[in-house]
Symmetry: C2
């Protein structure tokens, strides 16, 4: 190995978590070159081995893989707190849909920038998005330096951005070609739900995803209404309905999965489907509680997502982990179900597996250098006996001090590097005084 | 009014929440004198009226009443993450009890200082504590400048601090006398549970509380084990058992109340008992989910607490509000139950009502000047359409920039004023390397 090409030796003053399933390391550092983790090891040995590397120390730092927010609608940050605590139908019909109908590319760019600022500050390095105008989002995400999987929503009816499913797929072909040399910007195929897409469109989306080797992302079994409606329309459960259409497979990413029969769980496991758990949104919208302990027990790959900020109301993966770890314990009356380590896996490596990308969500040699530093020198993070417990149960979004994606600093010492944060905040304040849906 | 005696005019650049039940005000400020809220109003008018007052502006600030953490065991911060995700009995017997048995006054002082630092940073101005060595705690809390209600745990058996209940009550008499001129330091009477105290001790504690006009605080109906055990030993539910002993009344503060029959709820309402809801701890320990929507519907005063950091694992009231607001929606499958405004009440004014103190938890004229400033110029708090929603659903502990208790700044511009934070962190790090229970 030519040690001269080594860029950076990042030293974890306290702990280095290389993978959610491995014991955190002490006195250790990670060696980064060309956006990739070269190796990790004891700091003294690494310093001797890579003598020409730039060394950065984070004396009270915990280094961990960056979070993968596996389900969001990032631009919905503009609708954060637009209205809360009212019935779902009224919330959608009176607030969200009318506002979304007036979305345009300018607002999508502003909103995506805001969402990226929030996500970087909270330690998210990759996000998986389903929304509209994903071309504008790709552009902003690329500029900001995050990693993303972007999916343009597909419906039976026109979306705010496209007339029909064919136009969406056409756009997706173009985007894939445009970004083929940029491994930070990736695409997915996103039929919205089994009830807003006809069987014909669902099948078309699935076959397009297979042809282009893309993840197929769908909201599935989110509400009791959807469950009952599917039984009534198709005489079977949402999961089995998708199985009948041939959609269940290792590239399917089923978001929510709150309303499941036991044999739905078996089916998801057999077919290798990944599930994205969004506990805060499921609670806040009154959708229910996903049987996540059972999903994990069945061997299903379960990733974690915040959902959009309108139903959360933030994009904070540390907060989401806290809910994901505690909720199943209270439901099962058993403090031993769904450990902190398992939840950290949901927030990191499981998201990579859901996207078919094993180079993210871990810091093993050859993985992408997508990582975060948490400063433990804060009253609510001391003492620290177990850094994984501290991340999942005690930390909050502003404890993240540094964020790297592809080995590049997007935040350092709590300052955003690639975003003009004061300018962004001012732009959002102007927007807030005159929201576009009131124009 | 002699306007010369007016000390401080604190200007909320964005919003002023004077009470959880009132509409947030814009262009407003609060006028503080001698530790008390004199009045609030439009900033321009107040500036004209109080021309000699010191004016402090918080341009992107939201001012709100400080949080009242209505149940904690503050020194348990030393056991934060000592062990997680194991069955309750093993957690208590193998980790918590052996560590607590070795507690002493020095560690209580250190632990209380750490807990206060964390609570101030998170916007808590008052806390209600049940633990051991409350005399040492009182001393630290007084020094730090917070407001507290402190209760020395009473058991059938010796505690780490006292031989028996009589000694605890004797100590309490002494403390009341000692602090009678200090309205920040208050005391409660704390029989631990209905199953760790004999009926004799419960009755003695209740009559002592009545005699001294103190709140009577008890853990009640926390676990299914307790519920079943009470049925088996006393042929009735935990709530009805306490009623038979004459403990239910307006000074009773019943913590947890997870396992209740419908007529238990009626009984708590009829007798004017306050309940303290600790959703994160109840979930994490696998105790269950309190029927908090039903309690509120019955008209019960429900306050909010974090419980100790060993079962949470922080003392963050903003995080606790998020759980308290979302959880009942998911359980009831109804996004309209337990509104953000109601949860803000639980975290502020309801705690004051539980303690029989209507001068805290609100910023009405004559109330204590216990208040916080939240900086809204952060990506996860923009846009801001509704400041109450932002507090409950989006904010996190480190968004608090200023904290005042009794009109005195305990934190300003995110710097602690009354605590040497770097020195404290160093002391905790030394402790962490050699925890006392391993000596």
């Amino acid at each position: 190995m030519n040690n001269d090409s080594t860029d950076l030796l990042l030293v974890a003053g306290e702990y280095l978590i290389t993978s959610p399933n491995k014991r955190p390391l002490e006195d250790s550092c990670v060696v980064i070159s060309d956006g990739t983790v070269v190796e990790y090891g004891k700091t003294r040995q690494m310093k001797a081995k890579y003598q020409k590397a730039r060394v950065m120390e984070r004396s009270s730092g915990l280094i961990a893989p960056g979070f993968i927010n596996c389900h969001t609608h990032a631009p919905m940050v503009l609708f954060r707190g637009i209205c809360d605590d009212i019935p779902l139908k009224q919330w959608l019909e009176e607030y969200i849909f009318p506002a979304e109908a007036k979305l345009n590319k300018t607002f999508i760019r502003l909103a995506t920038m805001l969402a990226c600022a929030e996500m970087i500050r909270g330690g998210t390095t990759t996000f998986v998005d389903m929304y509209f105008f994903e071309r504008e989002m790709a552009n902003v995400v690329d500029e900001v330096g995050m990693r993303a999987y972007l999916g343009e929503g597909i419906f039976d009816f026109p979306s705010p951005a496209f007339e029909n499913a064919d136009k969406v797929l056409e756009e997706t072909v173009g985007l894939i070609e445009e970004y083929k040399d940029n491994d930070r910007i990736n695409f997915t195929v996103d039929p919205h739900t089994p009830y807003t897409c006809s069987s014909n469109i669902l099948e078309k989306a699935a076959s397009f995803a297979k042809e282009h080797s893309l993840p197929l992302v769908i909201h599935l079994a989110e509400t009791k209404w959807e469950f009952d409606e599917t039984i009534s329309s198709h005489s079977t459960t949402p999961v089995k309905y998708l199985d009948e259409l041939g959609l269940l497979g290792p590239n399917l990413v089923a978001v929510h999965c709150v309303w499941l029969e036991d044999d739905d769980i078996e089916l998801l496991a057999q077919k290798g489907v990944s599930v994205v758990h969004c506990p805060e949104s499921n609670l806040k919208l009154g959708s229910g509680i996903s049987p996540v302990a059972k999903l994990l027990e069945a061997g299903i790959n379960v990733a974690l997502g915040t959902d959009g900020a309108a139903s959360n109301n933030n994009l904070d993966m540390l907060g989401e982990m806290d809910f994901a770890a505690k909720l199943p314990k209270g439901v099962a009356l058993d403090p031993a179900v769904v450990s902190a380590e398992k939840v950290l896996d949901m927030a990191t490596a499981a998201g990579g597996r859901a996207m078919g990308n094993k180079a993210i969500g871990m810091l093993e040699p050859g993985c992408k250098a997508d990582l975060i530093v948490i400063d433990l020198d804060r009253p609510h993070l001391r003492p620290c006996y177990n850094p994984v417990s501290q991340l999942v149960y005690a930390a909050s979004n502003r404890d993240v001090t540094d964020v790297l994606v592809d080995g590049r600093f997007l935040m350092t010492n709590s300052e955003l590097v690639t975003i003009d944060e004061p300018g962004l905040i001012e732009a959002i304040k102007s927007f807030q005084n005159q929201p576009f849906w009131k124009e």
